[in-house]
């Protein structure tokens, strides 16, 4: 009797804590992504705040684009705040609190230096602020700027340490193990495809101007990426604003259409009809309306392109509410406003976000292709078209690579927003 009883008893006592740890480990790669982005931004902004790095170092010059710089500095502050996250738990832990403070100071320093053109470290060292703003003339004495670089490098290392402190990658091997298990097959497929491509092109001696080998594209990309990041950013801005206008209008009119069914019945056929037009055919006309050089002509294309999916998904989502949920609200004699905010909108979010995610890629397509029809010449579409026209195929392919990197980044940001707003949704629950 006794041994049996003990046998039965033991696992009950011993097993649950261990099982709990693995079963309830709901951590995902979110923190790791955030930490990597923060590290990247710490290093990039370090390059932005000193003209030696900004103009003489290839990596720094990639982010020289005047409209890109402030975005990176503000993004660093955003990443810092997200890492600081639950401030209550940080406060109980003095090392983590110190890390948060260091990161905050570093981001504020960067915002002052990059956005407001005021370099505090430079001012303390008695360096003329004007030196930080322009490419250094050849005759200037570089020594003070170089010692400024050394001193701020210390600050940068502290900030990197702070990110590592808040990240603690050493404690997250379980997460990585799971992530690798889940994503191993697509990674393997990607590597195999690249290797196959490389060897097939070698084997059949395909001319380089027809299809460059992946390794050649990678090498070219490594050389010209500073230019590509800058033109890619110019194009991305068109995509972004078109996305904001198109999806914003789509979601708003979708809400109206769902609220007033008569309105939706009148509007939907028209919207479907307009959507059937290959939107890109409108590009030359948009150029006439807004002027080819005006970014509005590109933004308009993207806005028209992204409007329809956002609108139709919003209508569908708002009407896809569970019948009982609505009866419940009726039993409370809830106002239309309450029903909209507390039931319809939350249950429409999955629909709206899937439309927004589709719209991110649509917007990059629209912004790039619209540049094929003329423009200022500082965009990615223009760059790809030109490179291809002069048979600089490796360059053109590098442009395509950067286009997809921007697209993936945009998609990633929208997905992160979705995850933050819809953490409750069935698709994000841990299996």
């Amino acid at each position: 009797m006794v041994p049996i009883a003990r046998k039965r008893h033991e696992p009950v006592v011993a097993a649950p804590p261990a099982a709990d740890e693995t079963a309830h480990d709901t951590r995902t790669l979110g923190l790791d992504m955030l930490a990597l982005v923060a590290l990247f931004l710490v290093i990039v902004t370090y390059h932005l705040q000193n003209p030696i790095l900004l103009y003489d170092v290839q990596f720094g010059s990639a982010f020289r684009n005047a409209t890109l710089q402030p975005v990176l500095a503000v993004a660093l502050l955003g990443a810092t705040l997200l890492l600081a996250g639950d401030f209550k738990t940080q406060r109980t832990h003095s090392v983590r609190l110190a890390a948060v403070v260091v990161l905050l100071l570093y981001s504020l320093y960067m915002i002052l230096a990059v956005v407001f053109d005021f370099n505090i470290a430079g001012a303390l060292m008695g360096i003329d602020q004007a030196l930080f703003l322009e490419r250094l003339p050849d005759d200037v004495i570089r020594a003070p700027l170089e010692s400024h670089l050394t001193i701020t490098a210390l600050f940068e290392f502290l900030a990197i340490l702070a990110v590592l402190m808040l990240w603690q990658p050493g404690t997250r091997f379980a997460v990585y193990g799971r992530a690798v298990r889940m994503n191993a097959s697509p990674l393997i497929v990607a590597v195999v495809v690249l290797v196959l491509l490389e060897s097939v092109i070698n084997l059949f001696q395909v001319q380089e101007f027809l299809l460059p080998r992946p390794s050649v594209i990678a090498a070219t990309f490594g050389e010209i990426y500073p230019r590509l990041v800058s033109v890619g950013w110019n194009t991305f801005q068109n995509a972004f604003w078109g996305f904001v206008i198109g999806c914003g209008a789509g979601v708003l009119t979708g809400m109206l259409a769902a609220r007033f069914t008569g309105f939706s019945r009148a509007l939907l056929p028209l919207a479907i009809g307009i959507n059937a037009v290959p939107i890109i055919a409108l590009a030359p006309i948009m150029n006439n309306w807004f002027g080819a050089i005006n970014p509005a002509s590109k933004i308009a294309i993207v806005a028209v392109l992204t409007y329809f999916p956002a609108m139709i998904s919003t209508v569908r989502g708002l009407n896809a509410v569970d019948h009982l949920s609505l009866e419940l609200m009726k039993s409370y004699a809830a106002s239309q406003w309450d029903i909209f905010w507390k039931v319809r909108l939350p249950s429409a979010l999955p629909f709206i976000f899937s439309a927004l995610k589709v719209a991110t890629t649509l917007s990059m397509i629209g912004a790039i292709v619209s540049e094929y029809f003329g423009g200022t010449g500082n965009g990615l579409g223009f760059s790809i078209r030109n490179d291809a026209a002069f048979f600089k195929n490796a360059e053109a392919w590098s442009g395509i690579v950067i286009a997809s990197l921007f697209g993936i980044g945009f998609y990633g940001v929208v997905s992160a927003a979705e995850r933050a707003l819809m953490h409750w949704h069935v698709s994000f629950r841990e299996k």
Binding site: L324, S325, S331, A333, D338, W424, V426
Partner: protein
Amino acid sequence: MANVISIKSLNKTFRGSDGAQVQALEDINLEIERGEFISLIGPSGCGKSTLLRMIADLIEPSSGSLTVNGKPAAQARKDRDYGFVFQSPTLYDWRTIIKNVELPLEIMKYSKDERERRASDMLRLVELSDFHHKYPWQLSGGMQQRVSIARALAFQPNILLMDEPFGALDEMTRERMNNELLRIWTAIPDMTVVFVTHSIAEAVYLSDRVVVLSPRPGRLAEIIDVPLPRPRGPETRDLDEYFHLTSRVRHSLRGGTLEMQKVKVID
């Protein structure tokens, strides 16, 4: 004693998908007293859920009169006189458990402190105090239904309308939930419960009176008093009187026609 719910010659006809009129309920007369526990039982499609939904003013009767707390049903709904528990818990996935219970209180514009106080009181009543910040999908079906009961009671209505609330639960859980419900009903003085079920055992175990509806069109077949002693517990199910009453309800249900028609009426 004043009647909480008063139903006089109530009729309901639905228009079927082929345009034909379908009589769901015919000439229902029912008086429900304050503090009573009443069960509505009948075969599928007899209109028992329809009757409950008309009391809740979720649908309108075709003719006849229906007053709740002495007012027309629509006014009672607007005054939030009743709480409704659906067949499925109907919790909102994007709200934590406590936020789900607070939902009606938010709509009724209670202050934040008051909302939190009442919601945690209610969660204590249904013995789910440890689950405030969990999400609905992290709870079992029985727990979810308890949350929906807590939500229905959060604003202290004096009528609780329940539409086959335990229909989806297994037999063991259902019996436990029945005891929970009786405990809650006893804890709140003068609360009237109208309970729709298709389980004879459940109806007899819980109720003061069992209202038996005949198959479509639903008519009142019989109203059976259940004089079983209270408080009731597992031992109640062993009483001779309990067996006697369940078989009486069963016979009464057979009194109509034996065939169970499949119909498209909401049930």
